[in-house]
Symmetry: C2
């Protein structure tokens, strides 16, 4: 686990979008986001106080998180100056960049000398077990999608917020780099060795209280030729009790696969349920999460009504209209 | 690719079973198996001439293959003496052991000094691409099973032999360590990073002649909670035109999962076809391969007849009764 709270390092972010990891932390774990550190020319601002390293130290910060994705994934010399100083001042560093902190000789040497930790969340830090398929206590929700990058992480985070607001026991379980940086821990599933994928998800979602819900971040799609094996491991390792079906209605083909069209929500429901039943006979599809970011409010509401009627499950855009409908639907599990 | 032909190193094998990799090479690629090298106390004999390193050199051998699995996977000092000498004499080394040749300081140093290659087939040697799902030329057969370790590799190898005997263009494509050592190349799929699994299978089975058949070695099972993601990647990366359904009738539970029973052959057919149709709408299940090693001849024949009638597909044990029925069935694709 990465020590919290964080100082969000935005570097010389060329635009707000490049700081989306920092924004995600601010949006979903505001209690971790004590401040931001911006270099000259930074075009992003996630709306927390600007701080020097000294101010962050005084505010109790434990880790400086690189909350920006720069072009090419490199770690520039301008950044290095601040990052080395952060290690010297006693902060750990955390990053989801393709270029690893540990591969930078200077950062690695200073971290060793100062006894600080470099968290490269793109690569697994744990020797995961082989999955054993044994039934675990507590309940689990998995978001599955008709395609990749369709809103599965946001769906789970929106549901977690709503469940916690209702006093329910709920924990978002990150399976990707952004989710891991947001929550401070998780499994970088796309970088796990094939034989250990399902085992890493069992490890991530262990026995828990009977009334506790894990909200497992989905990855890929069962219908996506490049990544379906990763999704399969989530279904069998996650042992879900409830599935949320995620869809983006305006997409014209599978992401990165121009000759593949998206499956229907019904086809996703049928296949995901069939596979989930191998490990959990009681699994149900409980609701539908529609990513309506490319639709007007009127179009979105009309589409949601149409889908509810057609599929017979509650449907919403949890980011736009709240996750209450999806959380209500957990009563049926 | 590993250079052929081979000298099969049997070391001090405690029993014939521990030399099954060497036996597999002798059985399936006899033209590669020029000789065997046995140390004092070796209890295995795969039926090829015993040779010294000098004799192997004279016979044209290029690579010494460790064809024995020793207890604990370690590389003993007794072995080292021969292996170092082999490198000095100009042979490459190949191994599927858990302990890697390259991690042995002495072997690594001598290999560097002599310019020889150490092939550790347990780990990938290629940066595989992300799968693109594009249709490839040529035809592909994939063996899928109701469980792991059920005869998928032998099914593909038996079919390859029968197809070549008929003058068909057929290539066994190895996806596991034993298969890679037998054929000299392939993808160690269980050790590939999650995101690249399907891409590694596309890489393994590229465009080919329209009348060429790849016989892809299966792994795991779509119904096996530990490894189903690996199997999924084979189905979507392999883009099969024909599926062979593999089953072992006497098994009482899924391998390593005592609380899971095996699915029916029909359930396997339905799920595997549904998934294969995502990437290849024309895929058909063409035949059934039954592993009858634990049955009498009479029981095996009765079972095969019953399965053919029930499922409506040709069924045989290709290792025991030949693969002709399965190859005949390819005419329907």
């Amino acid at each position: 686990m990465i020590k919290t709270p964080y100082l969000l390092f935005l570097g010389d972010a060329p635009d707000p979008l490049s700081a989306k990891v920092a924004q995600g932390i601010k949006d979903w774990r505001p209690e971790y986001a004590v401040g931001q550190l911006r270099l000259d020319g930074c075009k992003a601002d996630v709306g927390v106080p600007d701080m020097t390293l000294a101010q962050a130290k005084a505010a109790g910060v434990k880790t400086v998180v690189i909350g920006v994705a720069n072009r090419g994934g490199t770690i520039s010399q301008r950044w290095k100056k601040v990052l080395v100083q952060a290690l010297e001042e006693g902060f750990d560093l955390a990053s989801g960049l393709h270029n690893l902190l540990r591969d930078e000789e200077d950062l690695a040497a200073v971290a060793r000398a100062t006894g600080r930790t470099l968290h490269d969340v793109r690569i697994p830090s744990v020797p995961y077990p082989i999955a054993n398929g044994e039934k675990r206590r507590g309940k689990r929700i998995l978001a599955v999608g008709t395609d990749c990058s369709i809103g599965k992480m946001y769906t789970a985070l929106c549901m977690e917020r709503e469940m916690r607001a209702r006093g329910m026991k709920a924990t978002f379980r990150a399976t990707g780099q952004t989710g891991i940086l947001i929550t401070g821990g998780g499994v970088p599933l796309d970088a796990v060795i094939a034989d250990f994928m399902a085992g890493s998800i069992e490890y991530l979602t262990p026995d828990n209280d009977e009334d506790h819900w894990d909200l497992i971040e989905g990855q890929g799609s069962l219908f996506h030729a490049s990544y379906s094996g990763v999704t399969m491991a989530l279904v069998h390792g996650g042992q879900p009790d409830a599935l949320i079906l995620c869809h983006e209605p305006t997409r014209t083909h599978m992401r990165g696969l121009p000759s593949y069209s998206l499956p229907s929500i019904e086809a996703l429901r049928d296949l995901a349920l069939q596979l989930a039943h191998v490990v959990n006979a009681g699994c149900k599809a409980v609701g539908i999460s529609i990513n309506t970011q490319n639709m007007t409010d009127a179009d979105a509401r009309a589409y949601l009504a149409e889908v509810e009627t057609r599929v017979g499950l509650p449907a919403t855009d949890p980011f736009r209209y709240g996750a209450a409908k999806l959380v209500d639907a957990l009563d049926t599990v």
